[in-house]
Symmetry: C2
DNA sequence: CTGAAAGCGCTTACAG
DNA sequence: CTGAAAGCGCTTACAG
């Protein structure tokens, strides 16, 4: 292991602050932890001493004595480290950080590998963090359940496919897709297809089911479904080709992710279909690339940063023992109408 | 503050492991820390006990007793939280994580706000982490220097403009730009412009100076410089318009960032310049968008993940007190030739 | 509202 | 190679 060098901290200790303020260590501790029942006089003296001495409490000692880590982990369950470039992850991270700012809670970032899941559970259950935020890319991940079983407070981003009691926050993928489907129907489309995501991810299934519901409502067939196993432009392109060969007359496609929509647009262009005149295209996510696409993509926006924020306050709420927290939360989406549909 | 709930860890302690293995706590500690001078017999007994009991050491206690945090911080100095979506940051993070994996060192992510710099220095100098990795987006940031002064081991990603003794790792921006300039000269371009980055960022100046050197070598003028204050498509577009109005006859442009090159391409297309026939375009970074641009962008690739990895082993080396570490490091770039030049 | 004292779970000289 | 004991810097009942 890395034998991290000794790191002598020369700063003042609680003891010195107490002496400078003319109070006991207990009182200094109370002031630092913003506990009630400290006289204004004592509080002021302590604050002044802290300022004068440039005191910064030792977190390890606080954790050890207080049995509380003042840190939460953001665990990214990944099958390759490319997740980090994913706009979804970046957005969540932004939200988590925003929600944490101003609170004295540190964020520890962990990425799971295939092999070290045992270690991870041990570490996270070992009290090194107070709770866990997890974004699970494949819905079947057993980690959330294991952690919950081990008594670790956890909130998952994106509906997990396994684990009933686990609190999660997700975008309302079903209703987002339903709204997209209704919009296509309302604008006169009569042969509407969909490019769906992987079947083992809740996000994929929820969006597909929303679209299906929309078709059913309108009395339209819902046979034109092509699944892509990956959220990539190429996956979208292959699915689009498949759909076109099965039904050359299709006049609309709901693509369950903007990134796949890029591939679908490419194929439609290559086959000289005019967008939206011949084929209307609606995406999902509202990534940056949606607005710069040709033509600019009509899409269902999800607020990923809000997802991160919501996950964070849910977890902090759990930790604070707040009452009346919802078991899970669905965040609204909104249809952003541009030129492609 | 967030009063993070008590988190009773029910797991076994060192004490129990020692009892189960029939040795003293000291010996267990030595085994865990992989110290020499432990008999094979004792070692095996301890390992077995750890396994049987599912023991996971308490980090806070280790940190407190050992005066070592077993954690490093990745500090992102930001003026707005959009950094997180930046491919540069994502790449660095990926590299840091890759290099850390397998070592028992945690990564704590921190983002600085304008107002809390005092706190940050206090925290980081307070022994909560053993060292700091920092990606500083504006070169003038005083934080690296303050941390170094406070005795905190630090490695900066991207050459800082202030602070002499600070170890940094950067891509070789100067030589990358020089290679781009030479390529344009070699392919017969006679009126070569550049879109440079902000003057207060080392990355901007280094790439500009590399281009200048290339012009000087070829005996070509280096007057066609347009600075953009931001690395955005719009910034690149404005600079391109400026250049075109100053010199309608220009036949090449080296753009100091792919993201700005997108804007430059847009303007060139709008003015009906054929690329590369009328105007050759070379970018820098080799982002994803470079290969999907129209036409695919010839660009200087920098390996951002490698940057993150290198920063990390430099820091770990510092912490381990390794000898012969380079004061700073420049990573090679490479010209990726596509269709735009 | 305040202080003395015990204790959190480890590491590390020290002595053997 | 091993163990007994001190100590890391806090928090928290407990008693006042």
């Amino acid at each position: 292991m890395t034998d991290v060098a000794r790191n002598r901290r020369p700063g003042p200790r609680l003891e010195e602050v107490a002496r400078a303020a003319g109070v006991s260590r207990s009182t200094v501790s109370r002031v630092i932890n913003e506990e009630p029942y400290v006289s204004a006089k004592a509080r002021d003296a302590v604050h002044q001493a802290i300022l004068d001495l440039g005191y910064s409490p030792n977190q390890a000692a606080r954790t050890l004595a207080g049995n509380r880590a003042n840190a939460i982990a953001l665990v990214v369950s990944e099958q390759g480290s490319r997740v980090l470039s994913d706009p979804f992850f970046a957005g969540v991270l932004r939200g988590v950080h925003a929600e944490l700012s101003g609170r004295r809670v540190q964020l520890v970032l962990m990425m799971t590998q295939q092999d070290d899941e045992q270690d991870i559970v041990g570490y996270l259950a070992g009290g090194h963090v107070d709770g866990v935020l997890m974004v699970s890319l494949h819905g079947q991940d057993p980690l959330p359940l294991k952690l919950a079983d081990a008594g670790v407070p956890i909130v998952v981003g994106g509906r997990p496919l396994v684990g009933d009691g686990i609190q999660y926050v997700d975008s309302d993928n079903f209703n987002g897709a339903l709204e997209a489907a209704r919009y296509l129907v309302a604008t006169g489309r009569r042969r509407i297809a969909t490019i769906a995501g992987p079947k083992d991810m809740a996000v994929g299934m929820d969006r597909l089911n929303g679209w299906r519901r929309g078709m059913a409502e309108a009395g339209q067939p819902s046979d034109l479904v092509a699944h892509s196993t990956v959220f990539t432009p190429d996956g979208g392109a292959a699915a689009m080709e498949d759909l076109l060969s099965r039904e050359p007359e299709l006049d609309a496609v709901f693509v369950a992710a903007d990134i796949m929509a890029m591939g679908a647009l490419r194929v439609l262009h290559a086959q000289n279909r005019r967008i939206p005149r011949d084929v209307a295209v609606v995406g999902f996510d509202d990534l940056m690339i949606a607005s710069t696409a040709l033509p600019p993509l009509t899409t269902v926006r999800q607020d990923v940063e809000q997802l991160g924020r919501t996950m964070t306050w849910c977890l902090l709420g759990q930790l604070d023992g707040e009452e009346g927290l919802p078991p899970s939360l669905l965040l609204p989406t909104s249809l952003v109408i541009r030129a492609s549909a």
